[in-house]
């Protein structure tokens, strides 16, 4: 799946990977890779600035810890982040249902 397609959904995907608990940046990347079974063609280096942007928006919090002698930044969802994730899920379900109906050649809904 091309990076351009992913771009509009990256924030939601990052929030979703952190739903079950805190992760550091590379673990987020691993979770994306595992969850997509390697289908996402994503420049993983762009995940770090995206995580920081979400943190600036108050959707994530983060902190440094030292693991095996390396400083490592770990992220977790805030309450606001959980709400944003729920909103993105709803939006995605509506969007996906509409596109599926259209691409599947089903009749246009009568209003």
């Amino acid at each position: 799946m091309k990076a351009e397609v992913l771009k509009g959904h990256l924030d939601g995907l990052l929030l979703a990977t952190l739903e079950d608990g805190p992760l550091h940046g590379y673990a987020v990347i691993e979770a994306l890779r595992a969850g997509s079974e390697g289908r996402f063609d994503l420049a993983t280096g762009t995940v770090y600035p995206a995580l920081r942007r979400l943190e600036s928006s108050g959707l994530l919090r983060s902190g440094w810890s030292v693991v095996s002698g390396r400083r490592r930044r770990t992220y977790h969802l805030t309450d606001r982040g959980r709400q944003a994730l729920a909103g993105q899920r709803t939006d995605w379900e509506e969007f996906a249902a509409t596109v599926t109906a259209l691409l599947g050649g089903r009749p246009w809904p009568v209003l």
Binding site: Y26, A43, T44, Y48, A50, S56, S57, G58
Partner: protein, 229 residues
């Protein structure tokens, strides 16, 4: 065991395969902003590259090949650098707007005392509608910058404004405000009506902000010009 990732004065990264340290140096060269903020971001990127290199080594690749695969996954240094740079410019825009919001009221109060002693802000605004307009513009632009670069209140609908442009607009408006009041103050001096020490304090405060705001606006636009490492 992973070795500590430390930046050396010469620009190399200790404990990392050469392709990774070169890649980090390329990304770092694209970043604007203070060294401390850059180091913070680069440490995180380096940490991820170390993990990715280990991942590929566990799959049987030699270290250099593993490092090259990790870099390929990370993406072109120009792309990653641009994403980090955009983030840092947003931070800078926010800091600039916060600085202007923090300095605005005390400087405004000083000029109130100088220009319309014993009267409220309304008197000054009525006398100088241009100043009132510029002040409103600066405040709105600062507020828009802060709202678009940080957690926005839940009740507020999403604001679709480029924070860099908003912050630059705020800088321009603040600069014009300072120039305007300084011009009025200079006239007062010429007419011998500026006698209080508050005048000197207000002028110094405005001159200080005049030194800051245009420079801050330029920094919001400029690309870094550091040489690659």
């Amino acid at each position: 065991m992973a070795r500590p990732v430390n930046r050396l004065p010469g620009g190399a990264w200790a404990g990392l395969p050469r392709p990774v340290s070169d890649y980090l140096a390329e990304v770092d060269a694209a970043l604007p902003g203070p060294r401390r903020a850059r180091r913070d971001l680069m440490t995180e990127l380096a940490d991820g590259l170390v993990d990715a290199t280990h991942h590929y080594r566990r799959q049987g690749l030699p270290t250099l090949d593993a490092a090259r695969r990790a870099i390929r996954d990370s993406g072109p240094s120009a792309l990653v650098g641009a994403e980090f740079a955009a983030l840092m410019r947003r931070w800078r825009a926010r800091r600039t707007a916060q600085t202007l919001l923090a300095t605005g009221p005390p400087i405004g109060l000083l000029w109130l005392v100088v220009l319309v002693p014993g009267r409220g802000p309304g008197a000054l605004m009525t006398q100088l509608p241009l100043l009132a307009g510029l002040l409103c513009l600066a405040i709105v632009a600062c507020a828009a910058t802060v709202l678009t670069t940080g957690p926005a209140p839940r009740w507020l609908p999403p604001v679709r404004i480029d924070p860099l442009h908003a912050a630059a607009t705020a800088c321009a408006a603040a600069t014009l405000c300072d120039l305007l009041v300084l011009a009025i103050a200079a006239q007062m001096v010429l007419h011998g009506s500026a006698t209080s020490s508050t005048w000197a304090i207000a002028a110094t405060a405005s001159l200080t902000r005049l030194a800051y705001a245009p420079k801050a606006a330029r920094r919001l636009r400029n690309q870094p010009h550091r040489a690659g490492h």
